[in-house]
């Protein structure tokens, strides 16, 4: 794990060095996994760190992706977060070769880009994770290995608590990889909201559900990330901000899609969502030329911190390491 006390500034030289996608192995012991108790904080940490890397060339304005650029970008993101020079070594801060890794993507309306997930799956394989131990999924549609980035027709079902069996029975580690958007019901759809697709029996009217999260603009969304099976296995969030949606959502009016070309990473899902909220707020103001607050406000981000201790929502306590293209970075 990356220690909270780790030096958080990265020199330009280090960053450029980190850009090269590199080594194949890390010398980590096979079957080594991180103990769940190490990963389940009782309360939010004092500070959090989020990395933002921007490279608009990763995708054209029309949405065509460049897998090579995406791979390098993902590597830079992980290196910038960990201070490593090698992306695979950086990924090794969160995942061990012996882990079974669940990659929770989002398939709805503004889905996580498949090419990005394929880059992550390839990197996991380079780290030493067995390909059959990588499950990429949303809801009950799962795929295995690198191919899982593109094809997901396996069903694992849900446990008696309505949590995906991929989490409870298959995985030792979870990577959350949503695409972020404004959201009609919750203000922002990012890391915390992505766990909606990891449980079943939820409904907008909160009828007969173990997870009544929708009241008051989904204020209690943090309840999902706080499910022990999720909380204890969660290692890293990578947010696909290649082309976010800044108004409406989840249904897309393409007028509000925005070629931002960004990736964000953090071990703190709340902090990542707080940064996304700030970014959306600034984009909306830029678009309208005047303040255009998110409505409803994403109350769930702060409550995930104060109610569930899932991470840091106070922007003043989040160290943002932003790198890559500066034009229109906004934050």
């Amino acid at each position: 794990m990356t220690g909270r006390s780790q030096k958080e500034s990265i020199s330009r030289k280090d960053f450029i060095r980190a850009g090269a996608v590199g080594a194949m192995g890390l010398g980590l012991g096979l079957n080594e996994t991180l103990a769940a108790e190490q990963l389940a904080p009782a309360k939010s940490p004092a500070r959090a760190k989020v990395v933002l890397v921007r490279l608009k060339a990763a995708m054209t304005a029309e949405g065509q992706k460049d897998a090579g650029v995406l791979d390098a970008m993902l590597g830079k993101t992980l290196c910038a977060y960990t201070g490593e020079n090698d992306p695979v070594a950086a990924l090794g801060h969160f995942i061990k070769p012996g882990d079974s890794v669940g990659v929770k993507m989002n398939v709805m309306m503004t889905p996580t880009h498949s090419e990005l997930m394929a880059c992550l799956a390839r990197m996991l394989v380079r780290l030493g994770v067995k390909e059959e131990k990588i499950i990429i999924w949303d809801r009950d549609n799962a795929g295995v290995g690198i191919e899982g980035a593109f094809t997901r027709n396996r069903k694992y079902g849900f446990d008696p608590e309505s949590v995906s069996r991929i989490i409870t029975d298959e995985c030792t580690a979870l990577i959350n990889i949503p695409a972020f958007k404004s959201h009609w019901l919750s203000g922002v759809g990012g890391a915390l909201k992505n766990w909606c697709g990891a449980v079943t029996k939820i409904n907008v009217r909160d009828v007969d559900t173990p997870y009544p999260i929708h009241k008051d603009s989904c204020a209690d969304m943090g309840r999902l990330a706080a499910i022990e099976a999720i909380r204890s296995r969660f290692r890293l969030v990578i947010i696909d901000a290649l082309r976010p949606l800044f108004e409406g959502g989840p249904q897309v009016n393409p007028e509000y899609l925005w070629h931002y070309g960004g990736l964000l990473a953090s071990e703190d899902q709340v902090a990542a969502d707080a940064i996304c909220t700030e970014l959306l707020t600034k984009k909306r103001e830029q678009y309208k030329g005047e303040p255009w607050p998110l409505s409803p406000p994403p109350k769930h981000v702060e409550l995930a911190d104060t109610r569930y201790g899932l991470g840091v929502s106070d922007r003043g306590k989040i160290d943002l390491i932003a790198t890559g293209e500066e034009k229109d970075r906004l934050i």
Binding site: E62, G63, M108, M109, H183, W184, L185, S186, G189, C196, N203, V204, K215, D216, S217, C218, A219, G248, G249, P250, Q251, V252, N253, P254, E255, L257, P293, S295, P296, P297, K299
Partner: protein, 278 residues
């Protein structure tokens, strides 16, 4: 997805204009499974009396472009207008529906009790004419528009200073929250039985827009109760809404709430005009 078997009548409405053919993707959704298509976005439609949705995709002759058409049938023309009014950014082309909004990649329109979206799936642009061709063909196959299709409540809004493109017709607290967030509680007693409008007005001053909410309750008693409840709970409103709140009043079963920079004279004139219209 567990899409419902498509309704043949709806499929007929969604046939392709010249130069386009239906691709393999076709699905229909009802209220119980619309979330499989729209996830949290389904609630937006359910709040407008959603009944069915047919989705079909089409490809151009060269297969270089694809369009997705969504045909939503609501329970009433007023609700088809309502869902359209919640996002109507774009040009206003003629000959398509009762109101339409055309952007670079998306055409939306409503007609009778139908709401239609035609979207360029590749987002490569250059398909405006095709979006319009689809729209006009679909429009020609839908029931004819009638003057009474628009919600009657629209007629109460004073015309002076009104930004017509800002008018949104709705019923639920979730819809209100997406326009302006007031409180975690349903402080205005919104629901399927209430009709509400949000509209923006320019007051003539250089700065600021006034947002007007007009709510029609099923009974005068319901209106009075909600006026009392809202007035008593003002201090529980979200900070930005509490600061912006300028005026609350009621007449018969209509409640008026104003937010933003407006002085007493403007409020008096506005209110008089509104009450005259009810």
């Amino acid at each position: 997805m567990t899409a419902t078997k498509p309704d043949k009548e709806l499929v007929k409405i969604l046939e392709a204009p010249s130069g386009w053919t239906a691709s393999g993707f076709q699905a229909e959704y009802l209220s119980h499974n619309l979330h499989e298509y729209l996830n949290g976005g389904a609630e937006r439609y359910l709040g407008y009396g959603f009944q069915r949705c047919l989705v079909r995709e089409f490809v151009s002759g060269s297969c270089s472009s694809s369009l997705r058409v969504e045909l939503y049938r609501m329970d009433s023309p007023a609700n088809a207008f309502g869902i359209f009014s919640s996002d109507r950014r774009g040009e206003k082309p003629s000959g398509v529906g009762q109101d339409a909004a055309l952007g670079e990649y998306l055409l939306q329109f409503w007609q009778n009790r139908y709401f239609v979206r035609v979207q360029d799936m590749e987002l490569q642009g250059g398909l405006r004419q095709s979006l319009l061709s689809f729209g006009r063909l679909i429009s020609s196959r839908l029931p004819d528009p009638r003057a009474e299709d628009r919600p009657g409540l629209l007629s109460v809004l004073p015309a002076e200073g009104l930004d017509r493109s800002s008018v949104c017709y709705f019923h639920t607290q979730n819809s209100l929250n997406s326009l302006i967030y007031l409180s975690e509680d349903n402080v205005l007693g919104l629901g399927p039985e209430t009709e509400a409008l949000s509209a923006e007005y320019k007051t003539g001053k250089k700065s600021g827009i006034v947002r007007c909410l007009v709510i029609r309750y099923p009974t005068q008693q319901a209106c009075r109760d909600n006026l009392s409840g809202f007035s008593a709970g003002r201090d529980k409103l979200a900070g930005s809404s509490r600061k912006a709140l300028a005026h609350v009043s009621a007449n018969a079963n209509y409640l008026l709430v104003l937010f933003g920079p407006c002085g007493p004279d403007w409020i008096r004139r506005f209110e008089n005009e509104l009450w005259k219209n009810i």
